[in-house]
Symmetry: C2
Subunit: 112 residues, 2 copies
DNA sequence: AAATTATGTCGTATGTTTGCGACATAATTT
DNA sequence: AAATTATGTCGCAAACATACGACATAATTT
């Protein structure tokens, strides 16, 4: 079977879908939330916060990195993660725009 | 292997993740966007808007329904879909809250 | 009553995600 | 140089998502 017809949609829709996909797991939201409030963002500290195995958390971190939502900086043996504020603001703005667009009452009669 | 450890996270995180999952496919965002602007929301009309087969669109509609983002009302042979504005506003408010929380600059020094 | 129309559901193929343990690597300490 | 520490990556298994055609059903038209 041919698969994933994402290319059939506008790049804006694809982009929003990608952002939402990155946010579609509680562990990843928990990581972002944690990073937004803590001073230290050493990988090991994040792992302690998340009720999953170290390798699974590492995987989620890589996904957030791939989505450009976080950055990692090597510091000796440790790796220090933090939010990519600039990209996050840009992405969240786009997401917010469409959320408002969708949740604004339309002018036509509703059927239900 | 045991699977899906969602239960290990707070219900708030789970709820946000669920909303994002519903929005994580371009076809579903396109459907919501379409419903927010059109006067008619007959299932067949939606299907014409989306570049996927009828049965696949139907599947996406069921998922949006399961996530409570849309409602369907039978009208003879046809089915009329519309946004569940109330739930959408509630959910999007929750989502927006966390987006602001995450994207707000924190008060601590950043490591990268 | 047969044909048509609108829509949902099932079965199937395939791709993707989640989760873990085991192994690899590279910096630091002993 | 060996041990320890922090972290990433691989390989696997199970679950889930995507996509489609074929079939089922129920209302409407002929």
């Amino acid at each position: 079977m041919t698969y994933s017809k994402n290319h059939a949609f506008s790049s804006e829709l694809q982009e929003i879908a990608t952002i939402c996909k990155a946010l579609s797991h509680p562990a990843r939201i928990a990581i972002l939330k944690h990073l937004s409030t803590c001073s230290s963002c050493i990988s090991g500290d994040i792992t302690k916060e998340i009720p999953l195995s170290r390798s699974t958390v590492s995987q989620h971190l890589q996904e957030l990195k791939k989505a450009n939502l976080i950055e990692g900086e090597i510091d000796g043996v440790k790796i220090c993660y933090c939010l990519n504020s600039k990209i996050i603001k840009k992405h969240f703005g786009l997401l917010n725009k469409i959320l408002i667009e969708i949740s604004t009452e339309n002018k036509f009669t509703k059927c239900c």
